[in-house]
């Protein structure tokens, strides 16, 4: 039994919708028209929100935020194929998916303007986890949520997102390994947008694909064109189905591109060329989806204009709401250190209120 091959692995790739809007007929999932229209609408809304937030930020009316422009075809279809009870476990670049899951437009505005109120959902049962700004942790949370699904036999699936950069963190590894051992109903989607701030994908890891990292945990893997919402739809559906059946977790790499800056505090011209960005725009997901819809005869310029007006109005309303002066208490944090009172916190709470009242006249 000398040198022999013990095990073989392959990394499949899936693309259905080409950049020109042509779908591979053998692979097209044949989604109903209203589903396709909803899909496009969510992506447009997410894009509109990004663009408005960027404007607000530049005008000093909003804090720093990470735009998801160019990546709408990842989180939007993923969120659409999830069941209501499934857990949406984001990193911080899944604005589209969050909207699909029922997060109000305004939540992102409040959150990125420095208010915890943006994390308070209309309903706890929306099963959306808050952003995990600390990268990698969310994969471990998802493994635990998925474990709980098995524990309580709820059939819920945890769908987690992480960036290409995030795959280097220990938390990515520990979470996926546990999910593998637990055969946990979990789907992990790497949004490989080619950049982790200024670090290109090639300097993040020496592996040929990010999908293959799932081989380390004995789970099925797949790379998909992340600018192709149909491929994402099919891949995530397959993975969720497998998870819900009790066949364990899946790792999906969605290859996409971060078309804007990392956050509004970032200047991409320091580390990448305009040429690269221009090329990437040619693969972006909205245009190709629109062409696909046009090809199916369910879309045209008139409808496009109407939708544009519609999402603009929706975002307008949210921004108006957001900018209506609110009277959120400054002392709110004191109410949420613990769920039960403690004299140390209560005393400091009083001290805080007294300081607040006295103001900061002298600096």
């Amino acid at each position: 039994m000398p040198r022999k091959q013990l095990a073989k692995f392959t990394v499949p790739f899936l693309q259905i919708l080409a950049p020109d809007g042509q779908a591979d007929v053998k692979l097209d999932p044949g989604l109903p028209d209203d589903t396709l229209l909803a899909l496009y609408r969510w992506m447009r809304l997410a894009r509109e929100l990004d663009e408005r937030m960027l404007k607000l930020q530049r005008q000093g009316r909003l804090g720093t935020f990470p735009p998801n422009t160019g990546q709408e075809a990842v989180s939007v279809p993923a969120a659409m194929v999830m069941e209501p009870g499934d857990w949406f476990v984001g990193a911080f670049r899944e604005a589209g998916g969050r909207l699909v899951r029922g997060e109000p437009l305004r939540a992102a505005l409040d959150y990125y303007n420095g208010w915890e109120e943006g994390n308070v959902l209309p309903d706890r049962d929306l099963h959306i986890m808050p952003n995990s700004v600390v990268i990698g942790c969310q994969i471990e949370h998802a493994a635990g949520l998925a474990y709980a699904s098995r524990y309580n036999k709820t059939g819920e699936v945890a769908v987690a997102f992480i960036g290409d950069g995030g795959t280097s963190e220990g938390g990515f590894h520990e979470g996926l390994n546990m999910a593998g051992v637990w055969k946990a109903p979990m789907v992990t989607i790497i949004q490989n947008n080619q950049w982790a701030i200024s670090i290109p994908r090639s300097q993040q890891t020496a592996s040929e694909t990010l999908a293959q990292k799932g081989i380390a945990y004995g789970m099925p893997v797949m790379q998909v064109d992340g600018n192709d919402p149909l491929a994402v739809w099919v891949a995530v559906t397959e993975a969720i189905t497998r998870a819900r059946k009790g066949d364990g977790p899946t790792l999906i790499e969605a290859v996409t591109y971060r078309l804007m800056m990392h956050t509004t505090a970032d200047d991409p011209t320091k580390y990448r060329t305009e040429e690269e960005e221009k090329q990437a725009w040619e693969h972006e997901p909205l245009v190709r989806t629109r062409k696909y819809l046009e090809g199916k005869g369910i879309w045209d310029q008139k409808r496009e204009d109407a939708l544009g007006a519609e999402v603009k109005a929706e975002v307008d309303a949210a921004v108006k709401d957001f900018e209506t002066p609110h009277s959120w208490d400054q002392d709110e944090p004191f109410r949420h250190v613990y769920g039960t009172p403690h004299p140390v916190i209560e005393a400091q709470h009083r001290e805080f209120l007294a300081n607040l009242e006295r103001g900061t006249d002298r600096g």
Partner: protein, 326 residues
């Protein structure tokens, strides 16, 4: 009522809470088949099955991060860190999520979870098996830090920790695991988290400690009482964070003198906080400086030197006498 050591008391608390609350589960390295390296989870697997008594991979961050997910989904995970010395691998999860989830969501998501960890020296163990670093957890608002000193309060506090709506770091002084037995009632009982216990009243000096250091502390107090006829009030903190300022301040306001005994390194240790609280709340009653008897600001030595580095009753006696005479 049975005479139990602390390991058995912890085991009893876990078994009874799991019995009465189907959302409680235990997870960690070697907690199931092996029953835990200290046997604290022995027998639980047989009673509650592998879904509720979970042998995890070797991944502290994964364990705690997994527990965060479970807690959000309505479970009450009791995680075990095999030794506190390995718990720092999960500090990222702890700081970023365990302590913050409630505040982040204004209470919409809370984390009823417990992180148990044996800590402290005195058992002639390998490197990383002897530290006292409770401050690393105590300084982070959002979690509680509880340290029992004997079988009975360990049981009662662990039950309270499991029922607490918030994360509790439950640090078990491993030197006390099998050091002595106490009567522990069969029926479940709790002690309030956040409250210190006056274990003996007195008028001349307040002696404060917690965990394994309670034993040399009590011994020293008895010695000084006998030798000097002094009346010493003794406080067992039980909860390190948030600290029970009232009990400390009331006692020192009465006695005017205070000695704090701690195993952790001195600088930035719990006794510094206690001194600061006394300074805030009982300054005008102080008749002598607060005396801190502590571990030294050195890297915890291996066990060949451990004994001379752990505070002992003799040092406490000298500290008390010095403070009485000051």
């Amino acid at each position: 009522m049975a005479k139990l050591n602390m390991v058995q008391a912890v085991n009893l608390a876990l078994a009874q809470e799991m019995e009465s609350d189907p959302t409680v589960l235990v997870m960690g390295q070697d907690v199931a088949v092996d029953g835990g390296v200290f046997r604290a989870t022995e027998g639980l697997l047989d009673k509650f099955g592998a879904m509720r008594v979970v042998d995890t991979p070797l991944a502290e961050s994964g364990i705690v991060g997994g527990a965060v997910g479970m807690a959000i989904a309505g479970l009450k995970p009791v995680c075990e860190m095999q030794f506190s010395g390995f718990s720092y691998m999960m500090m990222g999860q702890f700081e970023a999520h365990v302590t913050r989830m409630r505040s982040r969501t204004h209470g919409q998501l809370n984390l009823p979870m417990v992180i148990r960890m044996p800590f402290g020296g005195g058992v002639r163990a390998l490197e990383h098996h002897s530290e006292s670093r409770e401050v690393l957890y105590a300084h982070q608002p959002g979690a509680r830090v509880v340290i029992p000193s004997g079988p009975r309060n360990a049981r009662a506090l662990l039950v309270a920790a499991i029922r607490d709506p918030d994360p509790v770091v439950f640090m078990e002084p491993k030197h006390s695991y099998r050091a002595f037995r106490e009567e522990v009632p069969d029926e479940s009982e709790t002690l309030p988290i956040g409250k210190a216990q006056v274990v003996q009243e007195g008028t001349d000096l307040t002696l404060i400690s917690w965990g394994a250091m309670m034993r040399p502390t009590l011994k020293a107090a008895a010695t000084v009482e006998k030798e000097r006829g002094a009346s010493i009030e003794i406080i067992d903190l039980l909860t390190i964070a948030p600290l029970d300022h009232e009990t400390i301040a009331a006692s020192v306001s009465k006695t005017g003198r205070c000695v704090v005994v701690q195993e952790a390194p001195r600088s930035f240790g719990p006794s510094s906080e206690i001194t600061a609280v006394i300074n805030d709340k009982a300054f005008w009653y102080l008749e002598a400086p607060v005396k801190r008897l502590t571990g030294y600001d050195v890297v915890t030595p291996y066990f060949g030197r451990e004994k001379s580095y752990l505070p002992n009753a003799d040092q406490v006696v000298r500290g008390i006498v010095e403070t009485l005479d000051a």
